[in-house]
Amino acid sequence: MRYLPKSETERREMLDTLGLDSIEDLFSHLPEEARLKRPLNIAPGKSEYEIVEYFRARGEETAASYTSFLGAGVYNHYRPVLVDTVVSRGEFLTSYTPYQAEIAQGTLTTIFEFQSMLCQLTGMDVANASMYDGSSAVPEAAMMAVRVTHRNRVLVAKTVHPEYREVLRTYSQHQGMPVDDFGYVDGAGSLDLADLESKIGNDVAAVIIQSPNFFGIVEDVKAAAELAHKHGALLVVAFTEAVSLGLLSPPKEADIVAGELQSFAISPSYGGPYAGIIATKEAYIRQLPGRIVGETKDTHGNRAFCLTLATREQHIRREKATSNICTNQALIALMATVFMSVYGKEGLRELAEQNLAKAHYLAEGLDLQFSAPFFNEFVLRTEPEALNAELLKHKIIGGLPLGRFYPELEGCMLVCATEMSKRAHLDQFKKCAESVVQPALVAPRGGSL
């Protein structure tokens, strides 16, 4: 096997050193009943060529070269070539967690830059070195709020990504952390602050909102913060479309920001791996989960970086840790860091402006469900199945039919346009949308794609 760098001669020499006849002797102490007595039922090893072919064939069975108007938490953004150039370097790709600071200054420096840039983008004071993804960052942020406030109830907006809310519920079931939701204003599509006001109390640790929300709408973070703080709760602002940070006001009234960075040069890759982030105010730094890189000096006074505040983490605090998380998404976070470096201050803004322009051009003249301002996604009133079928004829994947997550929005579709959406495809979408007529009454049915 080509990854095993020993010849039979060498194995023999090593066995002689050990005074053994065969390598299997090293397993002879295993109890009889625990041993596998047959070969694994797995085909023999394949050549490189065969492996590439296998995946190429699977790729062709997976909608290569289609245009897509899907968003809903995963976005099609151009990936600058420098991203893969940098992350393909063996020193980044094949290095370990930077516990030994002296030989990991490369990784540590890039993480410090990552943390800094995320603070600048989100308006927070401190950020960690990344979480698994946005969907797990949200419950971790809720748990953080519970630790800070010593309260245990959480209120989450219905306009937070539905799958994120599912994950929150899964985590909360085991934490004694009751989760209630509050709604959105029917016509606008933004937070129903009156509903929030009716549900909030002084047992609430966190109010969780998303902006832009799942419908693409920009929320009034300030108003939500005022309401949360009035009752002594923390405001957690989530985001799924990181590109919006280039143009939208940062959520600086938030106490904790929990988001997804997939938009920053991370391939959609059928759902992962992505990178989440939690950022917060200075005062809460010791409650942050996940790894954190700090600046320090070496014995000669040179600037150096190292993992810090490790006493929050599982390997020291064990059952009292802020979280059980061990991994951070270092390589993915590095992709985001390179992306942010390539675009820079002006580029991120221009990129966001292009997204805004494309989505608003697309929406122009179409039947929108909601009236509040949106970034690069909007909710279209239509016959979703019919429109998507029509679009597929043109090798276009349409938006997400919302009935599967919001039964009240059965006749609606979530549509996203980005800087990658070409004018010709935008025009084609509009043409198809106009040609599809929505039936007067649609009976609700459980949705699946």
């Binding site: 095993l4 070969p39 790729g59 940098v86 030989i103 070496d298 605090r317 061990c326 820079g344 002006e346």
Partner: protein, 498 residues
């Protein structure tokens, strides 16, 4: 005598913020082919930000030089051995990187129509089957994003099963040799932790276990081989005991590299376990992640697995089944770290059944070879047979005032990444060494020679070791200052250069 390294010039490199200059550009977007939009009009001026303060502006050349220079400051598997215990730092096959970037797979959106996602779903279904065969279990979920995430999911499953039987119970038994994620996970799942002392051989003490197993115990979290690299000889007695009390057994699969093709946890009584694909299945560590932590379960736990699950539709197409009333729910959005799963599948396809077995044999051979070479120089507190890793103690060296952490730092000068320091806690001053199968005899010999040389240095010149490393860009960093006054972001006018 240091044979593997020689000093070399590396470039200094400031932070991006320090090379930034207004107006520098590293990007060019295509011209807008739709009318531009006034952001303030479209969004409301209160929703539009001012410029991003202090955000870097650099050119493409500077980006490449910046990250390239930084990369040269890192050690990596591509440079040499990482003997980190329980991390399984094996070679990261490059073909895995190529196939993960296959266009249809890299750009697949999780919500695209199922009819257009059959290739991706086929990959997931195939990997599930392979992992079930390797672990001897009945069903696998690929949803968890990492080992700790998988552990959490696994304990949620245990709770759900016990709950469905009327009583979720209150505590989990965890050996004192366990990895820190185990008790941290127990807490996240709402269970109290009862630590079980290891016996004098470093193994789970059956009598201790008997004492603590009662109707309040939901289960045992065990690692096998354990964190000193030793196979739990009483494993079937242990699992039988737990089952006899209606409790379940969770196995931390971090050490699967010692078992693949030779023993299967499903065959020795494990009910649920996680795998670390970034360990056993070669997916790259990338400086700390991403990983993937699939879990494998016995039939009884299958109904509780996270939603959705893959199944065949009436037209024999893959489809996602969301109709799972007993499921614990989702542990993350979408389906799993697909890109990592692709790499793990490529690894498995490349090895095949026989290759996987050979890899395991070589991994255990390598660890035992190292153990034999180092035994005369370092204390071996537990003498049971080692599998894929061996654990020494710094007891002899402490007499000269030198600890495992110091030895680790001196090892860096010899051209190696340190082994795992001070873990597991049941070994005083541990040196935990796992070479993996992808190391040649010559690299192993260099490693052993290095540690033997350091052992001699400790006798003759302990300061050399105490003040190490001497040959790195940075000398020992001040972790105390970093923790006392954490500086976790750059601010203008803040620091000196590196």
């Amino acid at each position: 005598m240091i044979r593997k390294t020689r000093p070399h010039i590396t470039q200094n490199e400031p932070l991006l913020f320090e090379i930034s200059s207004p107006g520098k550009k590293g990007y060019q977007l295509p011209e807008l082919d739709v009318p531009p939009i006034d952001a303030k009009k479209a969004l409301g001026s209160q929703n539009v930000r001012d410029e991003i303060e202090n955000f870097p502006e650099v050119s493409e050349v500077e980006v490449i030089r910046h990250f390239t220079r930084l990369s040269t400051w890192n050690y990596a598997i591509d440079l040499g051995l990482y003997p980190l215990g329980s991390c399984t730092m094996k070679y990261n096959p490059r073909i895995n990187e190529v196939v993960a970037r296959t266009e249809g797979l890299a750009w697949a959106h999780p919500y695209q129509p199922e009819a257009l996602s059959q290739g991706a779903m086929e990959i997931l279904a195939t990997l599930e089957d392979l992992l079930a065969e390797i672990t001897g279990m009945d069903a696998v979920t690929l949803q968890p994003a990492a080992g700790a995430h998988g552990e959490m999911t696994g304990i949620f499953l245990m709770r759900a099963l016990l709950q469905s039987q009327g009583n979720p119970r209150k505590k989990l038994l965890i050996p004192d040799s366990a990895h820190g994620t185990n008790p941290a996970t127990a807490t996240m799942a709402g269970y109290a932790v009862q630590n079980i002392k290891s016996n004098e051989r470093g193994l789970v003490d059956l009598h201790e276990l008997e004492k603590f197993v009662d109707e309040d115990v939901a289960g045992l979290m065990i690692t096998n081989p354990n964190t000193i690299g030793v196979f739990e000889e009483n494993i079937t007695k242990i699992t039988d005991l737990m089952h006899s009390k209606g409790a379940l057994v969770y196995m931390d699969g971090a050490n699967m590299n010692a078992l693949v093709g030779m023993a299967r946890p499903g065959d020795f009584g494990i009910d649920v376990m996680h795998l670390n694909l970034h360990k056993t299945f070669s997916t790259p560590h990338g400086g700390g992640g991403p990983g993937a932590g699939p879990i494998a379960v016995k039939k009884a736990l299958e109904p509780f697995l996270p939603t959705p699950r893959l199944r065949r539709s009436k037209d024999d197409q893959w489809t996602w089944d969301y109709n799972r009333p007993q499921s614990v729910g989702r542990v993350r959005a979408f389906y799993g770290n697909f890109g990592v799963l692709v790499r793990a599948l490529a690894y498995t396809l490349a090895h095949g059944g026989d290759g996987l077995r050979r890899a395991t044999l070589d991994a255990v051979l390598n660890a035992n070879y190292i153990r034999k070479q180092l035994e005369p120089y370092f204390d071996l507190p537990y003498t049971a047979p080692s599998m894929h890793e061996c654990v020494f103690s710094d007891t002899r060296q402490v007499k000269k005032g030198v600890r495992t952490g110091d030895i680790a730092k001196r090892l860096i000068d010899y051209g190696f990444h340190p082994y795992t320091v001070s873990f597991p806690l049941i070994v005083p001053g541990a040196l935990m060494i796992e070479p993996t199968e992808t190391e040649s005899k010559s690299e192993l010999d260099l490693f052993c020679d290095a540690l033997i040389s350091i052992a001699k240095e400790i006798e003759e010149d302990p300061q050399m070791v105490l003040k190490a490393p001497h040959l790195t860009r940075t000398s020992r960093v001040d972790e105390t200052a970093a923790a006392r006054k954490p500086v976790v972001r750059w601010k203008p006018g803040q620091s000196s250069s590196s």
